[in-house]
Symmetry: C2
Subunit: 394 residues, 2 copies
């Protein structure tokens, strides 16, 4: 009947907040034959994934992927660490901090909100203050890379405060892992989760998580069972640990994808990868500023993986994004929540963080803005200047 029809989604350049483009090697790895979840080969794959996740998380803790997208990692982290009725200090300075609050509430916990403007990090004093407000506070949850605002959360002071109270630090690294240093051990992070579809250049579908021994002990000592069976970290550990108990049928093909993505990270080297992200974002910002656009986040707090730029007064948000997609095949993101209609979100994540993409995007945006009657300068020369200074191939 329709067997001659083949399946051809278009090739987009995904420069939004994620998913970003998956590496071709990763896509090919996914098309390998499925094996069973106790196959000896599977056990080797799992061991490799664990080792490489430890590398990108900067940790010696157990690390494995939750079988769902980033939000499942958030829910697994909060629902396993928190007991019903327990206070948890949550940094809310964007859409995903607020999502943490909602998820914690559904888990029956009591969020103690530390708020900041959407575009600013949470201050160390706010964390200190949360401990003063809540005598029994044992858990602090923060978003390392706020995908809705483009803010990188500094952790140097905060982790000292959390440690001094002998509390647990929970970190959302969805948009930082693989693009920014995520230093689980150095920053005393007890539970850190991420996604695969951002700076790791794999498709969405898994949530890597790193679990400290004291977190595992705390979960084992829970008074109430974790409300989610599917996201119960102790059951995950029975499959990922030495016991090898069946928990659920894992998404085998995504394990292949994640492994290949992590191997690419290892081949490049973490420092080289971070430098690449930093440099390309610097070029993007130089270009956008040369065009006359304004950054939403102050230089000290900008993510390398995701840049928020204010939408010019004269521009029609939806029309510009539609033109970028239809005329150039480029997807960027609009604003979320408080930033809806106010910013564009431009991701340079994983393999997408390269001079060719930055220069193409700047050119495309310039042409689209001009076609829409929005006055702007040219950005490519300023971007290129950054590359030349750094001696990059562009």
């Amino acid at each position: 009947m329709r067997s001659s029809q083949t399946f051809h989604p278009p090739t987009r350049l995904l420069l939004g907040p994620g998913p970003s483009n998956a590496d071709d090697r990763v896509l090919r790895a996914m098309s390998a034959p499925v094996v069973g979840y106790f196959d000896p080969v599977m056990l080797e794959i799992m061991a490799d994934i664990q080792r490489l996740l430890q590398l990108v998380f900067g940790t010696a803790h157990k690390a494995f992927p939750i079988s769902g997208t980033g939000t499942s990692g958030m829910e697994a982290a909060l629902a396993n660490l928190l007991e019903p009725g327990e206070p948890v200090a949550i940094g809310v300075n964007g859409f995903f901090g607020d999502r943490m609050r909602q998820v914690a509430e559904r888990a029956g916990a009591r969020p103690v909100v530390m708020e900041a403007e959407w575009g600013r990090p949470i201050e160390a004093e706010q964390v200190e203050d949360a401990f003063k407000r809540e005598a029994g506070l044992q858990v602090v949850a923060l978003v390392h890379a706020e995908t809705s605002t483009g803010v990188l959360q500094p952790l140097e002071e905060i982790h000292e405060i959390v440690r001094s109270h002998d509390a647990f630090l929970l970190l959302d690294a969805v948009t930082s892992l693989g693009g920014h240093p995520v230093e689980v051990d150095r920053h005393g992070v007890d539970l850190c989760y991420s996604g695969t579809q951002k700076a790791l250049s794999a498709p969405p579908g898994l949530a890597p998580i790193a679990v400290s021994p004291r977190t595992a002990a705390r979960i084992r000592a829970r008074r109430h069972p974790v409300q989610s069976f599917y996201l119960d970290l102790a059951l995950f550990e029975q499959y990922w640990g030495t016991a090898k108990f069946y928990h659920h049928t894992p998404p085998v093909s995504f394990y292949y994808a994640l492994l290949e993505a992590l191997r690419i990270v290892e081949e490049e080297g973490l420092q080289a990868r971070f430098d690449r992200h930093r440099q390309n974002q610097a070029a993007l910002v130089a270009g956008l500023e040369a065009m006359g656009l304004q950054m939403h986040v102050a230089p000290a707090h900008r993510l390398w993986t995701l840049t928020t730029v204010r939408i010019p007064e004269a521009a029609n948000d939806a029309a510009v994004r539609r033109r970028l997609l239809t005329e150039f095949g480029i997807e960027i993101g609009g604003g979320l929540g408080a930033l809806l209609g106010k910013v564009w979100r431009i991701g340079l994540m994983g393999k997408n963080a390269c001079p060719a993409n930055v220069l193409l995007f700047l050119t495309a945006l310039e042409r689209v803005l001009q076609a829409e009657g929005v006055p702007c300068g040219s950005g490519t020369r300023a971007a290129d200047h950054i590359y030349r200074k750094a001696g990059s191939p562009a």
Copy 2:
């Protein structure tokens, strides 16, 4: 460094309880470029998935995939339909019925267990009795195809009973969807979930679910929010419905896989597909019986997709399975829970339900049993006889 190393999982013949082999077309579809979750192309893909899921679920209800494996579908169904403290009648005649009980308990509900031997279906009288035991009972949950025992649950009488009490019927169709008729509308099923890695011949990673309008209304009218944000069906519907709100980054590549798998089902035709599953299972059983092995389930209640056969006294369970895997590349399943060490589970699911696989498996099992010193006859002739009677290509 290691970029010349390529990724080569072995090609196994997965004749266990799942995952089964994914169709090659499905694996190729997965390697297509990732698109964004609001891409116009994505919206077309989602519309096609909905239509084809309605076809295999036999329903006009809304149908979409949950972003997790089958167990996430189970949890989504129970956690959304049940309020804390509410009674729910659950058929426990195997590992997955018992898992339903655990998941319902974690959701704060109060399971009213209807038990049957592992290898027997739940009787209609037990359902009638549950309504007598619990005056306020509004939800009955059953496993349509018990993957741990190989039993198909009859629904004719039971759905009349549930309907007569104006209650909700929740059905686990993980191992039946795409291999057996799953008649959501005819059987008045209010909430039905499945997985992709069994008779649909896609990789594990999604849980298709069909939600009746009265279920959706009940969920909207909940007194307590669903405890899981990730598995909140109302939030899924906002993305899958006309609103198109962001809930989480969906596993795009698995949407490609599911769509291609469903297109293959449509091309073959449902009835032809069911006939194929029935016929190949009949040949498998004829062969196993000719070898002198005993079926665990009575003929009237056997699944076509998964056959449980008793392990001969003289056979070493693990050794036989290991030899099948290492010498023939064939994976079959051992027993779970009450059937651990007592049965083998042989799946003929989706594309794997074909004469070549049945005949190869019977030959391989015969040789392995003989090598292990277990006396047995030959099964291929009896299997072939079934095919000849049916005029099949074998």
